[in-house]
């Protein structure tokens, strides 16, 4: 029987089959006939187990992967170029969509860079910094939950996925309460935050910490000791410290090799030196170690969240300098969130200068002195660095994101070669690459 969809096509490199599932017989048959044992399988870019639009090019010998390569760029969005045509504040709207699972880390890293260029790091109000830490740590929990959930799903463990998304919804509820959006918040702005906490948020935060403390052990019960889970994860995706350092891997991948390198401890930003938390490590260098690290990091994040709530003191959330602070006085109106009527009345009715200032700042934006800066934060995936260059104008001259997913994904070949095809999925899932961050 011939299948019309898997017609062979001869090329200079050998025969090429386009197989889309279900019609492997013909391929296997001709592979048996041919004297060349080598088969190159192309997984993705559209494949349910490749963690987004990642393309894996695997050279296999039976079930063993002899060579593995990545094809990326299927989600290249040109965000870095787009930033150059918007003003500095509008930039947060773009960067939040890079690694869409860690929006607050992207925004904070970018804003720290802009603030460094402006030279206003010392003027950021405490409340804004504490809230940034709070949001980042909540975000770390939600990102790790998605990692564990999708990682489990790719193993075939659908239950873990349902659990992960259940708890992620709790975090998203908080995000929605605080920022108004479930994803892509653009809430952290150069100079502070877009808005203060809404009423009742602190109570909900405390409630969340309580619920999460109850829910987190369920992952231990479900997965940590599960023999099937362990058999799939242990000693899979092995990458030791030498490999990590050479390939520039950071985050859980590096910490699973035993090095407690965490920018929150080694190069603190946003006042992380004042918080009490531990940096979990493992010495197994494998996927299972990374899973355990992620679980423990969520517990540590909860600790930080609790400290943040205790530390919240009333105060402004935006820098006092009116030449930088977005001139909005947001309030809930009948048609959603917008400028408060009182503020509009004031600038329209009583102060021509304020109106001009508002107009200038919103349409033109503030100018940033020329120069360059590099700021880095510890995102759930590793070191998220931002290189910002200004030419003294109202728009970024160049913004480059050093995304941890991009760098860590290079380790895929080192982790997979010599292993089984099925383990490739586990190894890639343990890196937790988010293609939005890889391709930008």
């Amino acid at each position: 029987m011939t299948t019309p969809h898997a017609t062979p096509r001869a090329t200079t490199e050998g025969t090429v089959y386009t197989v889309t599932g279900g019609d492997w017989d013909e391929v296997v048959e001709s592979a048996v006939k041919s004297d060349d044992e080598r088969i190159i399988v192309n997984m993705g870019p559209q494949h349910p187990s490749t963690h987004g639009v990642l393309r894996l090019i695997l050279e296999i010998d039976g079930e063993t992967v002899t060579e593995a390569r990545c094809g990326i760029g299927y989600l290249h969005t040109g965000i870095e170029k787009n930033l150059e045509f918007r003003n500095w504040t509008q930039g947060t709207t773009f960067v939040t969509r890079m690694d869409y699972l860690t929006p607050f880390f992207n925004e904070t890293a970018y804003c720290l860079g802009v603030e460094k260029l402006l030279g206003i790091e010392d003027q950021i109000p405490d409340r804004a910094t504490v809230l940034r830490v709070l949001l980042m740590e909540l975000n770390r929990i939600s990102s790790h939950l998605v990692c564990i959930a999708t990682g489990g799903m790719e193993l075939g463990a659908t239950t873990i996925m349902i659990y992960g998304f259940r708890d992620r919804e709790l975090v998203l509820d908080l995000f929605e309460l605080i920022t108004g959006l479930r994803m892509n918040h653009a809430f952290v702005r150069p100079g502070g935050l877009a808005q203060d906490l809404p009423p009742g948020a602190v109570d909900q935060l405390r409630e969340f910490v309580k619920t999460m403390k109850k829910n987190l052990p369920e992952y231990d019960k479900l997965a940590t000791g599960n023999p099937i889970f362990k058999a799939r994860m242990q000693d899979v995706g092995y990458l030791d410290l030498t490999g990590c350092m050479a390939l520039g891997a950071t985050g859980p991948v590096l910490r699973s090799a035993g090095l407690p390198h965490d920018l929150r401890k080694t190069d603190p930003y946003c006042g992380y030196e004042n918080y009490e938390f531990d940096v979990p490590t493992a010495d197994s260098c494998d996927s299972y170690g990374r899973f355990l690290i992620r679980l423990e990091e969520m517990r540590q994040s909860l600790r930080i969240v609790e400290q943040c709530i205790d530390r919240l003191a009333p105060g402004p959330v935006m820098v006092a300098d009116k030449k930088i602070a977005w001139p909005a006085q947001l309030a809930l109106g009948p048609d959603g969130l917008g400028n408060s009527l009182d503020h509009i009345k004031k600038i329209m009715g009583t102060s021509m200068e304020a109106l001009i200032h508002h107009f200038k700042l919103v349409t033109e934006g503030f100018r940033v002195p020329a120069g360059q800066a590099y700021t880095a934060v510890e995102s759930p995936k590793g070191e998220l660095g931002v290189h910002v260059v200004s030419d003294g104008g109202t728009r970024p001259y160049r913004v480059h994101f050093r995304d941890p997913s991009f760098t860590n994904l290079q380790a895929m070949a080192a982790m997979c070669e010599g292993g089984q095809v099925a383990d490739v999925i586990v190894a890639v899932a343990s890196i937790d690459p988010v293609m939005g961050g890889v391709d930008r």
């Binding site: 870095e80 120069g371 030419d391 480059h400």
Partner: protein, 237 residues
Amino acid sequence: MSDQESGAGAVPAPRDEHGEVIGVRKGMFGADNGGDTSGYGGLIRTVTLPGATSRPYGGWFDEVADELEGALEEQGLLPGNAIEKTVVDRDELTFHIAREHLTTVARTLRDDPALRFELCTGVSGVHFPGDKGRELHAVYHLRSITHGRLIRLEVSAPDDDRHIPSLVAVYPTNDWHERETYDFFGLIFDGHPALTRIMMPDDWQGFPQRKDYPLGGIAIEYKGAQIPAPDQRRSYS
């Protein structure tokens, strides 16, 4: 505007005037075809990046600079030849390296026990069309986990000879980063094992993140109205 200026101060003053001029902007609102009726045609603004700093640099910067210069001298390389200039700006230390010595400098920074910059966080390309002879910059950030330090290396290449030695042999992590910079800026990293496009399709023409490459958006149509693409709109230069 009196009630607006009660804050902690105005926008930070421009940095020292002795910087490096990399371009001159004229006029405003992007009017450059002679038909400028905005009234801002006479506006001239020079773009000045922070210039070279003289010693002392302050903090551990001096220590790193001393160690690097000493280690380069040991290898028979005159530090003045390799390090074009040193810039300290916004608490960050930048070495501008002559491109032919980049590999030696990077290897020294990685291996010297007093320096130990083990982690390279990749390369970021910057295109300065106005900086004649040094149009394309490659910026590397090196992190020392041992000493908890971060420095920046900057290398430039002229647009008509866009070659920079590859650092993949020293920092294998730069493999994809250099491919990305090649893809976006056309910088050719000599010695890279497989310098091909990584983000754009293989048959793409041009290098999209250079300043002379248009953003490529389309005009947005509304009912009876049209808004030009973001790079065609008026801008504050």
